[in-house]
């Protein structure tokens, strides 16, 4: 029923315009865009529905994403995310989006492995998580380049407490060739700081809110077109910054936020971004 409602394009656009989603990470516990570390409990299930929008100088994309996550163990989580593209961009800026939910139209399966965890106090822990994933595109051409399957790997480490949060991470996505063309690779890094004011320090099961300042740096490489590498020695540089908010109540979570570019040093032919917005609804079964 919810999906049917969301498939109503006008309704979706309205929601998006009211400031809900971009290239989102919909893990639910943490930031919207940046890499994070928490994994589900053993046997835990997390369902997410996200709305995302990405604006360039000439176009705006709208997408819904669904994410299913399952905790194989408390440190190992499998994820599957699929998109419903409402409106694709003709000229697509290169972006990863984040660790769990690509900002483009890829279907992606990933594994999260929390290889380090040190819970050293009430509500406090340091932890590190590695991500590996594979993806298949739902579009044939992206930015006038044939788009193929991709692999993705990332690593993040962070600190969580009842008051402060911080994560840093980096990742790399590699697209395989398709019909003699290949999208450029995409190294990226993210940093997030989060804070929960005292006013939101109510104990469970009271609602729980926090705010994040997120930043994302992406360095897309040149594409290979008709067997020829474009700008093989140069990469674009994009840095985006923005706030996001996360509200949690029992088994439910909602997050929303936006990012705007503060640096766009692009190779010729690359598309400039204006903003990304995103909203994500989580439910833990």
């Amino acid at each position: 029923m919810i999906c049917r409602i969301f498939l109503n394009i006008r309704y979706v656009k309205l929601i998006l315009l009211l400031a809900i989603s971009g290239s989102v990470m919909a893990q639910g516990h943490g930031p919207l865009y940046g890499l994070q570390t928490p994994t589900l409990a053993k046997g835990g299930v997390d369902l997410n529905v996200a709305g995302m929008s990405l604006g360039t100088e000439t176009e705006t994309s709208y997408m819904l994403r669904y994410l299913f996550s399952y905790g194989i163990t408390e440190d190992l989580q499998v994820n599957l995310t699929t998109p419903t593209m409402i409106e694709r961009l003709g000229e697509t800026p290169r972006t990863r989006g984040n660790s769990n939910m690509p900002a483009n139209g890829d279907i992606e399966a990933s594994l999260w492995y929390r290889f380090f965890s040190n819970a050293f106090g009430v509500g406090k822990r340091f932890e590190s998580t590695a991500v590996v994933g594979v993806s298949a595109p739902t579009d044939n051409v992206r930015g006038q380049v044939n788009v193929g399957n991709a692999i993705h790997a990332a690593i993040s480490t962070g600190y969580a407490s009842r008051t402060w949060y911080a994560w840093i991470g980096g990742g790399y996505q590699y697209y395989f060739e398709r019909d003699d063309e290949r999208l450029g690779d995409l190294p990226y890094a993210s940093a997030v700081v989060g804070y929960r004011p005292n006013i939101f320090m109510g104990d469970y099961p009271k609602p729980d809110w926090r705010i994040f300042i997120e930043s994302l740096a992406e360095f897309p490489g040149g594409n290979k077109i008709d067997g020829q590498l474009d700008f093989s020695d140069t990469r674009s540089t994009k840095v985006l910054v923005g706030p996001s908010f996360l509200g949690l109540y029992g088994a439910w979570g909602i997050s929303f936020g936006a990012m705007v570019p503060v640096v766009q040093d692009l190779t010729p032919g690359s598309v400039k971004e204006r903003y990304r917005i995103a909203v994500n609804l989580s439910y833990w079964l």
């Binding site: 639910g28 516990h29 928490p38 994994t39 589900l40 409990a41 053993k42 046997g43 835990g44 408390e74 440190d75 929390r114 965890s117 819970a119 050293f120 106090g121 009430v122 509500g123 406090k124 822990r125 969580a160 407490s161 009842r162 949060y165 320090m201 104990d203 469970y204 099961p205 609602p207 729980d208 949690l248 109540y249 029992g250 088994a251 979570g253 989580s282 833990w284």
Partner: protein, 161 residues
């Protein structure tokens, strides 16, 4: 009147058959920072047979557990459930009903499935109150490595009923 007598008899027989068990656990949980974390832990604990009351506090970092009058739950299974949710189980304040025994000068409290060695940090006055046989007592069970939990624990007694 007949029913009342029967209920009393069942009650007496019932009490007579209660074996060593844990009655209450206030389990310290480290690393739990968000509402879904608390929700997940609460839900996991509620699935365990023998738990009558479950309350999780993020601010205290504790799970407050009331166990059924008759239960087979162990502290180990409770702490394993905490670990399964991705957190670290630390000290636990417990109320135990068990058999007190003494071996080579060391006091133990034994429930059906676990054994609690009375810590040397327990006050001398309390240790002197211990007597071999059935007892009900409160205390703090010391933290053990989450990856190497066993049915052997160390407890600092705080009260003997």
């Amino acid at each position: 009147m007949k029913n009342i007598k029967m209920m009393a008899l069942i009650g007496i027989l019932g009490i007579g058959t209660i074996s060593g068990q844990i009655a209450r656990v206030d389990q310290e949980v480290y690393g739990m920072d968000c509402a879904p974390c608390a929700y997940g832990l609460e839900r996991g604990l509620k699935k365990m047979d023998g738990l009558q009351e479950v309350r999780v506090s993020l601010n205290d970092g504790k799970a407050y557990l009331g166990l059924a009058e008759k239960n087979d739950l162990t502290l180990r299974s409770i702490q394993e459930e905490v670990k399964k949710n991705g957190f670290s189980a630390r000290k636990a304040e417990v109320v135990l009903m068990g058999n007190a025994t003494k071996e080579d000068g060391q006091w133990y409290i034994e429930t059906d499935n676990e054994r609690f060695a009375v810590s040397q940090n327990t006050s001398i006055e309390l240790v002197q109150k211990l007597a071999v046989g059935r007892t009900t007592l409160s205390g703090t069970v010391q933290d053990e490595d989450d990856d190497n939990l066993s049915d052997q624990w160390e407890i600092i007694l705080s009260k003997i009923e």
